[in-house]
Subunit: 466 residues, 2 copies
């Protein structure tokens, strides 16, 4: 059946279809390194029409389709199975249009985030989503996973930038939702369904994105907070300061010490203090100085350093970016969770205690986009008595169990994909899961779009579960 | 059948159900004044459980349910039919919680917008959605219609403030989506489905809303633009200025003259100029002065006045708020449309020309939240040779037809409800309508929730329309 589908695809799409040994390995797995798997074929369409043809044929043959972008995902969302067909959007990269009056940019799904940023800059504007994988990740994938990144505290997630979409549905129908207005309440806002749905409801082919003005003068400052309450107070002061807060990154003591140690950098602020906050702000420096002085006088922070040059700012950011070295220096078990901002400090302490109780000497590092309620936590599996799959699973169960108990999310910005499916119930009620499956059933009744991602259960109508 | 339903509701919910003559007239129609109609009964639940019970019973009896909030809608979305049951959320007003660390507020659906604003202010924060009906409109209705208002240019629409929701589904199931984090990618973001769905997919009972910092020093300025290109350039300058643009309202010549005339106000800037822009900005006044000088030197604006006091600012806003007098001074046919910002000027001219070609002497006024791509247009039916339903319909057809041709939306912020159903196809493709009906079918297969609103067609599964 699936072999017939490949033949039909080749007959219709010719060179856009690669099969067998001709499939490049990059289509086998994503940045998680999840067990690589060669799909039956990979389709690399160069137009919306080709995507539509591909979906129509796969739908007719009931053949599973795995949409793929830059393969930089961290949840296994784009990993194929051996009986599926990968649909790579990498060649869907036509002309980009910038409308400077409306402040919008129209991009094809296969365009990299970096190219999108450059297109905006060339027009004197800015696409404000930014993340480490900018050079490889693609706009379609960013939208399908509702990517976050560094500047969410000011600009929101990818969802907040999307004004319009073009989507190919499971059966090949093309949905034109290419709205370019800020306000549009003409019926259901259908684009919202596809943003963050990880390729399970439709294939995103084009988007209208909102642009921000170019960034003015920014200041980078590193503060040492006396405790987590101090972090929260500083956040509130900066938010209400009239300055624009572009980033509010927090590093716990161990993370900071480890990072400075790795880079052999003299710590710009003493190591051994409880918490470090790295902020990026746009606006008047005198106002920033005033806030730092006040925050110090109120004993919320004990020290602060404002970067005096771009080079110094880069040095400060380098401390936070030590995460890039995790894979080479640790055996990292990474978490991407979110919790109400006020309880993150206490939660981090509780997790630390639970980990050490069960695995004495367990090494962990806490850091994150705290201004967005997003905590990252990395456990070094090398510090466990036994580093095996069972230990990984036990640690995940412990962390996600505690996240669920406190009303947090097991996925702040990376999605669920394959890797977090089993833990989804910690953040999602049974009723919500029922509705998700019903939506999936409504849009993809044959379940051919990225099956097995997000949830293990089959799509089914709600009435059947009443 | 429906009478049985009322009896069942009375048996379960007692005093929360009013029927026959006991139903207050406010439940008969909304702010449009659409033909009032007494529903079979009105249910006024005081808890989510009561809403759930009400929906379960109505679902069992297949009885239509019309959710109602403050009845301030402008599209007929809350108008009942004689065989339906109105479900008013007006008594669902429990305690409000503000989390100052997270910057969130938890509100019940029946809380007025004004009470929500006050609760935020009491905590030193701000709920940034604002609109004329603030004293009567309710949070549940605001969310169900994705309300816009004055500050969208900075803070976005109601959708952008909603972090979490509690929703009662058509069959009475309660969906707990009370997320309070900025980032949460754990499965589909189900709350998005209900925002702006005008009560056709579920009944909103509670919400977690995002708060903004309290507003700092603001400046109100009225500018005269030399042409529409000047308006667009001014908008771009202000957006990129480092000042925070809270409002960017444009008034065309006729609107401005009419308003100053009605209030017997000496025009703060000469009447007879092409366009007037009323802005509200937060930030340094010197920076604002610099931009105004530059904009004048570049001949984008010809004159400007900055309010020197709160009283002067109120005077300037009064010019824009002349719309409140439309019902008493005109026979207004109102439009709430959106278009890409760059083409609004040319569109307004084209509409004006078309109207005058067909109805010589036709009086119209153009104004709107141009910073959000939202144009309001009012035609005075008194200026038509014949002011009857056919003329209204002809004018609507003309305007919406042109909106559709230019890729605009027939509803920027008021929704579709009853009044715009027939014109929905101008802004929504057949495929989109199919998907909307499929979503409706998935969540409300019996079609009991606000039937006949948004679209006339029945909910139906997509596969049935393949």
């Amino acid at each position: 059946m699936s072999e017939d589908c490949v033949s039909a695809l080749q007959a219709s799409l010719g060179a856009a279809v690669l099969s067998g040994d001709a499939i490049p390995e990059r289509h086998y797995s994503d940045a998680t390194g999840h067990a690589p798997c060669r799909p039956l074929a990979v389709i690399r369409p160069i137009s919306t029409e080709q995507v539509s043809t591909a979906m129509r044929l796969c739908h007719a043959h009931r053949c599973p389709v795995i949409p793929q972008g830059g393969m930089t995902g961290l949840a296994g969302g784009a990993v194929p199975t051996s009986n599926s067909i990968a649909l790579s959007l990498e060649r869907l990269t036509g002309a980009t249009e910038v409308d400077t009056a409306a402040g919008t940019l129209t991009a094809w799904a296969g365009m990299t985030l970096e190219a999108t940023q450059h297109a905006a800059e060339s027009a004197g504007l800015r696409y404000p989503v930014d993340l480490g994988a900018r050079g490889s990740c693609q706009i379609g994938g960013n939208i399908a996973t509702n990517a976050g990144g560094h500047a969410v505290v000011r600009h929101g997630m990818t969802r907040d930038q999307v004004l319009g979409l073009e989507v190919v549905l499971a059966d090949g129908r093309v949905l034109n939702l290419m709205n370019s207005m800020i306000k549009n309440n003409a019926g259901y806002d259908l684009k919202q369904h596809f943003i963050g749905s990880e390729g399970t409801l439709g294939v995103i082919t084009r988007a209208v994105l909102r642009l921000a003005p170019a960034l003015g003068d920014t200041h980078t400052v590193l503060c040492a907070a006396v405790d987590y309450a101090g972090v929260v107070k500083l956040l509130r002061r900066l938010r209400g300061s009239g300055l624009s807060l572009e980033a509010f990154e927090v590093m716990w003591q161990d993370f900071y010490a480890m990072s400075c140690n790795w880079s052999a950098m003299a710590p710009p602020l003493d190591a051994g203090l409880p918490l470090y906050v790295l902020c990026e702000l746009e606006g008047d420096e005198s106002r920033l100085q005033g806030i730092l002085e006040l925050s110090m006088a109120e004993r919320e922070i004990s020290d602060a350093v404002v970067a005096g040059s771009k080079a110094q700012a880069r040095q400060l950011w380098k401390i936070r970016e030590a995460t890039a070295e995790f894979p080479s220096r640790l055996a990292p078990i990474n978490f991407d969770i979110s919790l109400p901002i006020g309880i993150i400090g206490e939660f981090a302490a509780a997790i630390c205690e639970s980990l050490n109780e069960r695995w004495p000497g367990c090494r962990s590092a806490f850091f994150g986009h705290i201004g967005d309620s997003n905590l990252h936590l990395t456990v070094d599996a090398n510090s466990l008595p036994v580093n095996d799959a069972a230990a990984h699973h036990a640690i995940e169960s412990l962390v996600y169990g505690l996240v669920g108990k406190r009303g947090g999310s097991i996925s702040a910005e990376h999605g669920i994909g394959l890797l977090k499916r089993e833990f989804l119930r910690h953040s999602v009620t049974d009723e919500s899961l029922t509705v998700m499956r019903a939506i999936k059933h409504a849009l993809d009744p044959r379940g051919i779009l990225n099956p097995g991602k997000i949830f293990t259960s089959e799509p089914i109508a709600m009435s059947a579960l009443a």
